[in-house]
């Protein structure tokens, strides 16, 4: 049943699934970009710069749950929608995004674990992930999100404008959505 669901998700429903997925990705970007503006432009202290959701529901940010939840959704989305990327280049870049996001998700898993267990690694006063040993958290996750998003959007662009091939109908994600005359 899961396989059938994935077949639908990567077949007739690929475009719909991609639109929903990109909405989530862009909403998450909105949060991080707003956090950046809160810190870098408005001069808010870092603990108070929590984006939009965190502004109204601070516990979502401090509990690490929202961060981890989003990271997992990203990994699942990248993995589940990967089969729909059938051309070499678009699949390559989508896979790059998946690999990086998997590591990013592990970092958030470590943060969530420390918050849940009430024990911080490396004798730090706050939950700390591996790369965070050296790199400040806000800038680190701005970087993670950037290097996941960029290959993802490159893959999506290639997917929206695939090469026309005889006998190979394009996914409905393709802008032209035309079937090659040879396939008719």
């Amino acid at each position: 049943m899961a396989k059938r669901y994935l077949d639908v998700l990567n077949g007739p429903r690929h475009e719909t699934a991609m639109r929903i997925f990109m909405f989530i990705v862009l909403a998450h970007w909105g949060e991080h970009l707003l956090q950046g503006l809160q810190i870098y432009v408005l001069g808010w202290p870092v603990p108070e710069a929590r984006g939009i959701l965190g502004y109204f529901f601070p516990v979502l940010i401090s509990s690490e749950a929202l961060h981890y939840g989003y990271a997992v959704v990203m990994v699942i989305g990248l993995w589940a929608l990967r089969p729909g990327f059938t051309e070499i280049a678009e699949r390559r870049w989508w896979t790059v995004a998946l690999a990086i996001q998997f590591f990013h998700h592990i970092e958030h898993f470590l943060l969530l674990g420390q918050r849940v267990l009430g024990y911080n690694l490396f004798d730090r006063p706050v939950p700390t992930s591996i790369a965070q040993l050296w790199i400040p958290r806000v800038e680190l996750h701005l970087f993670y999100n950037t290097i996941v998003f960029l290959p993802m959007v490159v893959a999506m662009y290639f997917h929206m404008f695939p090469p026309a091939r005889a006998g190979r109908p394009a996914c409905t994600c393709a802008w032209d959505r035309k079937v090659s005359p040879a396939a008719v």
């Binding site: 970009l33 950046g36 503006l37 280049a89 400040p136 701005l142 970087f143 960029l150 404008f161 090469p163």
Partner: protein, 76 residues
């Protein structure tokens, strides 16, 4: 302007926004963090900006329908 160009412009504008925020961060870390943390922050922010430039370059170098520089490899 074709659809593919409109999409590329939209993506490029968003990337410009990312680069802008990263640049603001680049300045901010220098005045608010310790030298070591500022350096580390600047390294990753710079890496992100370079990656953004590479991605936008990749998008604009490829024109759909131009078989010669298609990133999808040779047609079957």
């Amino acid at each position: 302007m074709g659809a593919h160009n409109l999409i590329r412009v939209a993506i490029s504008l968003f990337v410009v926004l990312l680069v802008g925020v990263s640049s603001l961060g680049w300045v901010w870390v220098g005045t608010h963090l310790s030298p070591a943390q500022a350096l580390a922050g600047r390294v990753v922010l710079t890496a992100g900006i370079v990656a953004a430039g590479a991605a936008v370059s990749m998008l604009w170098r490829w024109n759909p329908g131009s078989g010669n520089n298609s990133p999808h490899g040779r047609p079957n």
